[in-house]
Symmetry: C2
Subunit: 415 residues, 2 copies
């Protein structure tokens, strides 16, 4: 079955916002085994919107529209779709009640008249309750086509899709699509592809696709099967083989687990604590660790030691080392990690010092040179990197590598 | 004149990537005074691409296509556009030479045959040299229409657009479009609109538009005029009036200046240093300050004190305060700021302590409660916030408010 996405909103045509809804829906539809050939963006204009809906209904089985369901006169999606599908708008008592309820719990005590417009729905349409706003989602089935209308704000659209549209679409397919993500760090996309090439080329069910992220590579294994159990059976040996080939580089096989979550999981598992000592990353490694709810069990403190003086004072880096080797050196990184572990009484400490630029680079120490060290039980691993890109890119890559260094250090010593 | 964007690429239809090119081009075209009614995404498929180009040429004066200009057989944009516009492909000796040159400086010494395909251009087309890849940009002018073909990778597309397409499009308009951004922090979008409503409604040239960002509001003032000087003359009084009405909330009127850049600029201006003492933001405030090249002049060190013990050890927060008022309290925030300024010998110190959730909230201290304090010369300002949203949102908003607190503290004491 084919599916098309129409994003309605002048703010997209003016470039005020990025169309993340289209990406979300495209990925979801691909995972549901639906084929998408077209995506369209139109403004809040009846004539052009009508054109887009006519064209979409003509060439696709399912049309998903986002945006233009609000209470104002600009919002025309529902009215236009009803016209194209030749259905009347009727009041839905259930939605009317929900709107009253919504405003009762809101700071706006008075319901302006235009809000009642939201209770009008195309005759015979399925109404999808929206827990995060007043505009319900709608599904119109007619002439063998499926029009799915969703509100534009991602905070309303995504829960509606996940909770009500995904099960609806999944039922339309005889086959179930199941996928598993293998998340990889510390190796480039081309190397991953190289090691998996024969698998990628020979596999048709499940299929294998690689995605490059900042400092990471994600490999999605997707199977199509009549039921969950069969799909899992197809996926399992392929994931096992990928893990075997990539070894320690695989940090997770859970869709929702980020690198920092994997790091915190390992720290908790082995009852370890970690500290951070950051120069060029300026607190971002600590910031990533604190992203994880419950990070306080494993992380208590970190230092941002941007100046040499701060490195000496808090991390006990020796004056001599800074003078002889410089702040960006493997010797300084090593002393930062040792000093940070000691000062915080943590089991591990990861230290980062580098040249993020744009100024300060020399021939011997060019911009992008970053040293990082991880101290565990007095033993220190030091790594040297030469990153490419601007200041931000260098720092982002450093953060990922530093988190991964902690992960590898734990695994190499404890598993 | 109307313009339409066609993004070519199966990876967009599969949801592998977000269409940031469309947003970039939409914003640029709006600033050039061009009207965009449609954006379209199609895959690397000749028939559907041809349909999209025919439709676009039929309804728009200018069509910008991105993607599908690579050397492989999948790449069809140039061939398809040439067919629709009824022009032959001919070899461009200049481009051929550039490709040879490109590979001479590359690690790939051998030029595979398919690369020569890149030297073929539609007869009579303008060739736009691409300094970041082998596919040149192309402009086809025929039948009163303008087809602009650009490579898909943003690192190639954006420089080509800025350097060669923007001047080309600007020349097609008799009027020049000039805009100025007023960047605002510490006040919500609806309040900004409220204070500017009469200006927004009455102004036609320049126009005023507001954009909500995380913790910030940006107001764009856009004028259309025959020359730069006239445009500036139209913009100046409006920007002045906006600044007057929003006062200290305006942190910048430079497009490229971020909040952290404004903070570092002020610190440098008054020769001040700043330190950070972070709990729930976990190093992200320091990380934002270090974003700014040359931040080392004003920022030397920061603490991430996630545990109570760390708050006591590094920031000298008293045991009694933590026991009596708790870690998330105005008293603790205050002592963190004072202690941080003292420990680092900095002029200012900003401290943040809060409940980012999802757990740990109580009726008295719900998730989203954040205290921040800024100490300057022994004087401390403490602010209390109740943020909404998930852990990440709460932390993002806290970071913006903390940076803004530093900015306001400096301005209130020095200007």
């Amino acid at each position: 079955m084919t599916v098309e996405v129409i994003s309605v909103g002048t703010e997209l045509l003016l470039g005020n916002i990025v169309n993340t809804n289209a990406r979300f829906l495209a990925e979801k539809c691909a995972l549901l085994g639906l084929t998408m050939y077209n995506q369209v963006v139109v403004g809040d204009n009846e004539e052009r919107l009508k054109d887009a809906v006519y064209t979409a209904v003509g060439r696709s089985d399912i049309v998903i529209l986002t945006g233009g369901l609000g209470p104002t006169e600009d919002d025309l999606t529902k009215e236009t779709c009803a016209k194209v599908m030749e259905t009347a708008l009727v009041e839905d008592p259930h939605t009317k009640e929900r709107i009253q309820e919504y405003f009762k719990n809101s700071t706006f005590k008075k319901i302006t008249d235009n809000n009642w417009k939201q209770a009008m729905v195309p005759q015979g349409a399925m109404v999808l309750d929206n827990d995060n706003g007043t505009a319900p989602g709608l599904i119109i089935e007619k002439y063998g086509k499926h029009l799915i209308l969703l509100p534009g704000p991602p905070g309303e659209m995504i829960p509606l899709f996940n909770g009500q549209v995904e099960p609806y679409l999944a039922k339309m397919r005889p086959e179930l699509i199941v996928s598993k993500m293998v998340k990889i760090c510390g190796i480039g996309e081309s190397q991953v592809e190289d090691r998996l090439l024969d698998l990628i080329d020979s596999q048709t069910n499940p299929t294998i696709a690689t995605y490059a992220k900042t400092g990471e590579v994600h490999v999605r294994v997707t199977a199509s099967a009549p039921d969950r159990e069969t799909a899992d059976k197809l996926i399992r040996p392929v994931v096992k083989e990928i893990k075997k080939r990539l070894g320690i580089c695989v940090y997770s096989t859970k869709d929702e687990e980020t690198l920092e979550m994997a790091v915190v999981r390992l720290l908790k598992k082995y009852e370890l604590t970690v500290a951070t000592a950051e120069s060029c990353t300026g607190g971002l490694v600590a910031g990533r660790i604190v992203n994880v709810p419950g990070a306080s069990d494993v992380f208590r403190e970190g230092f941002v030691t941007y100046s040499n003086k701060a490195k000496r004072k808090h991390l006990d880096v020796s004056k001599n080392t800074l003078k002889k080797y410089g702040a960006v050196s493997k010797e300084t990184a090593k002393e930062m990690a040792i000093g940070g572990a000691f000062a915080t009484d943590s089991d591990l400490c990861v230290a980062i010092t580098g040249l993020a630029g744009p100024d300060g680079g020399t021939e011997e120490k060019p911009v992008g040179l970053v040293y990082m060290a991880c101290c565990l039980g007095g033993k220190v691993t030091v790594e040297k990197y030469q990153f490419k890109g601007n200041r931000q890119k260098i720092r982002e890559q450093s953060v990922v590598r530093a988190l991964d260094l902690v992960r590898r250090t734990i695994l190499e010593n404890y598993s």
